[in-house]
Amino acid sequence: MPALLVGTRKGLFVLSSDEDRRDWEVSDPLLTGWEVFHAVPDPRDGSVYAATNSFVYGATVHRSEDRGETWTRAEELGLPEETGLTLEKTWHVRPGREGEDGRLWLGGAPGVLFRSDDSGRTWKTVQSLVGHESREKWNPGAGGMCCHSIQLDPDDPNRMYVAISAAGTFRTEDGGESWEPANSGVAADFFPDNPFPEVGQCVHKLLVHPSRPERLWQQNHCGVYRSDDQGRNWERLEGNGLPSGFGFPIMLDPSDPETAFVIPEEGAENRVTPDGRLGVYRTQDGGQSWELLEGGLPEPAWVAVLRESSSFDDGGVYFGTQSGSVFASADGGDSWVEAATHLPPILSVEAADWR
């Protein structure tokens, strides 16, 4: 049964539907009081993990083995004193691969990555990234210096990617022992004296295509990009139907590597839908051209969609707004239904298979 884990400023909501994805049931809030930056199902054992933050009680990770009825919390999570850093926020949880029992990855601010090998009870700092030689060239974005994207190569157990705003994309090919910047061709227009640095790019969201894992997509502060060589080189894709290169979410079609969806915003200084037009823009030719999809979406709608607030599965694409609405499409974006409304500000949306 399709479900969506919707993290909000005030707790987690579970939306559930049937295969048509037109009618959605909204749960009562879970993890009340916590800001749920991201919640994700672990397909290996059916548990759910949530990156949770509180302005009183700090940053942590919760785990549920009974679909949100009861939760346990990380016992050990923090940065070693010698790093000189303290954990500000938890942003993104990524379960490990099939066969990597108990392994999870956790991204947070300030630009940090953790690994757990005991199903989230304890977390170890990935020192190779926290102490990366380029770190002094990283800068925080408006949301802090967040490690918000963690993508595993489905074919190579040692290759994975992280993206940090504003540090850029990094690739490891040795399971996290070392990290190489993967930002060639990605602009940092906010550095006018050096707009193509090795690091410092403000990537907003990074995705690996599940069926063609050498293909990466990213929505950046400075444009939409595609790479066909594991992030070694990037091609900028805007200016061919997109009203703006600025935005946060990006969605894919797992069955078609040529298809992607973005939701542009007017620009960095006015982060809202251009001209009040809430539009999902789809490419079906690898980003060479984009078309506006607006069926079922409200107009005017002066809204914004945050970087974690979109998702996709085999049968749908989904996104949630800061104004508390969730939209779902079961026909590749041609038409949308409002699956939920009047939720607290939405921070994250993740598709789950709730069987």
Partner: protein
């Protein structure tokens, strides 16, 4: 929120010499203290109704029958 983290339990009986050691024995200690062991900024601690900042903070001595209360601070202006 703290009670929800421990199945709804709102009261614990603990034996400790100081306020700090009493709080560190709680199952929510890693929410009350940060990773450096410092009391979080927006957590207020009262011993028999008096803010521990008026005593010795976490080093405030306990004699055996005090009631310690944890209260989230008023935080007007925070983006919540």
């Amino acid at each position: 929120m703290l009670a929800a983290e421990v199945g709804g339990q709102r009261r614990f009986d603990v034996e400790a010499d100081t306020v700090g050691s009493a709080l560190r024995s709680l199952p929510v200690a890693n929410l009350v203290f940060d990773e450096r062991g410092q009391l979080r900024q927006l957590v207020n601690v009262y011993v028999d109704g008096t803010d521990v900042r008026e005593h010795e903070g976490m080093d405030t001595r306990l004699s055996g029958s005090e009631e310690i209360r944890l209260v989230a601070a008023i935080a007007g202006g925070y983006s919540t």
